[in-house]
């Protein structure tokens, strides 16, 4: 029994709604069931379908962009099982459980940790220049890689089934995530320098002052590392600058006299 490409396309679209019922108890569990249901309907009937469904609504969580790959592979495994050519050592549940956490870890590092700051850094260069296309630049640069993962790997997962995990094992994606983050940091360094430099030019202040920005920034970074919240850091910074701004003229006057 084979799941037609139309059904697979339908499942792919349903995967866009994966987290619609995200909750603290089963996380993406119900969503994964929801996405796969059109496929399961083709493979099982009646009581059997209900029994399989009950299994699918259980606890499951992985990264949204890698879920299509899991879904593709699971469809393949279910298909093999239904046609009786399944490898009896591989249980679909086990496969789901085995890949969920590692894929989540890889996706979090690569997409949330690496790609998001990188794309944000790129688009902010344009935004600071006042270019109104900046949001579009963000959406396009960011989505290139996730879309590739969502589509190509859905197809690949379905084609390769169990073997689809090899790609992840071979390609050392976590190392790619680190390289992406390093690039993002370099970019953010350039972005910060650019912002400070153009600000000083506007204020008609000497440029070398800009290098001093590193001092408060490194301090804030170290405080943030200790677990201090962003809200607190924003408050402290804004209040300090506000007060300095208020009393700057007075202080200069006092020192001068």
């Amino acid at each position: 029994m084979v799941i037609s490409w139309k059904t697979r396309l339908y499942i792919w679209f349903r995967l866009l709604l994966l987290q619609a019922s995200w909750n603290f108890e089963r996380l993406q569990g119900v969503g994964f069931f929801y996405a796969l249901l059109p496929g399961l309907r083709k493979l099982y009937k009646g009581e059997e379908l209900l029994a399989v469904s009950r299994k699918y609504v259980g606890y499951f969580n992985t990264h949204v962009y890698l879920a299509p790959m899991v879904a593709g592979a699971v469809l393949k495994l279910e298909e093999d099982k239904a046609s009786g050519e399944a490898d009896p050592t591989v249980q679909v549940d086990d496969f789901k459980e085995m890949v969920a956490a590692p894929y989540a870890a890889i996706g979090d590092a690569l997409f949330w940790g690496g790609l998001r700051p990188l794309a944000a850094g790129v688009s902010l260069f344009f935004a600071i220049k006042g270019i109104l296309w900046a949001p579009l630049i963000f959406v396009v640069t960011y989505n290139l890689v996730p879309t590739w993962f969502r589509t190509v790997f859905f197809v690949r997962g379905y084609r390769q089934g169990m073997e689809s995990v090899e790609f992840i094992q071979k390609n050392r994606l976590p190392d790619w995530a680190i390289h992406t983050k390093e690039t993002a940091i370099v970019l953010l360094g350039g972005l910060s320098a650019f912002m400070v430099f153009s600000h000083l030019n506007q204020q008609q202040l000497p440029s070398w002052l800009g290098l001093l920005t590193l001092v408060p920034m490194v301090m804030l970074g170290l405080v943030a590392r200790k677990g201090m919240s962003t809200l607190f850091l924003v408050t402290v910074t804004v209040v300090t600058i506000f007060l300095l701004g208020l009393f700057w003229a007075d202080m200069v006057y006092l020192i001068a006299s």
Binding site: E25, A101, A104, A105, G113, Q169, P174, I178
Partner: protein, 164 residues
């Protein structure tokens, strides 16, 4: 051995551990003490593949992990230790691994478990395990990621929902 974080998390290595805790405690080695992962080469390989190669990962049974941690092999590492269940944590403690703090991350819902916080679901046996560790002087706190507040597990008990 320099144990920077001991955590119970049924998902073991995942995003919260790698993206939030590792930089926070500056760990450079993750030890996963879990019998079922250690006994399944494929699962073990998948888990290792999710960690950057510059980090050291040791995945072993609870007993093996205790031996490893008590040996001098990891002396130079800042170790982040992960258990999958409370009973594994207790077993490791009984087998001679001493840790004085225990972080509760995720323990997912199941039949017969009561809800203690959004991500913590415990059954009576888990409670007994934690009680035993608490008696032994381990400081047990619940904290999902470093940006969350740290709360003592005892403070969670009154807010528990469901059968204990």
């Amino acid at each position: 051995m320099n144990l920077v974080l001991t955590r119970i998390d049924n998902r073991l290595i995942h995003g919260q551990v790698l993206e939030a805790w590792v930089p926070f405690v500056k760990a450079d080695c993750i030890v996963v003490a879990n019998d079922s992962i250690a006994g399944n080469p494929l699962k073990k390989m998948m888990m290792q593949a999710s960690v950057p190669s510059r980090m050291r990962v040791e995945i072993g049974t609870v007993a093996d992990s205790v031996v490893l941690l008590n040996s001098s092999q990891l002396n130079r590492c800042r170790v982040l230790l992960l258990f999958g269940t409370t009973s594994d944590a207790v077993r490791a403690y009984r087998e001679g691994l001493s840790y004085d703090q225990l972080n509760l991350g995720n323990l997912h819902a199941d039949k017969g478990k009561a809800r203690f916080s959004c991500t913590l679901f415990l059954n009576p046996a888990d409670m007994d395990d934690l009680e035993m560790l608490d008696q032994a002087g381990v400081k047990i706190t619940s904290r999902c990621i470093p940006a969350d507040g740290e709360r003592s597990w005892r403070k969670l008990i009154p807010s528990a929902k469901g059968p204990i």
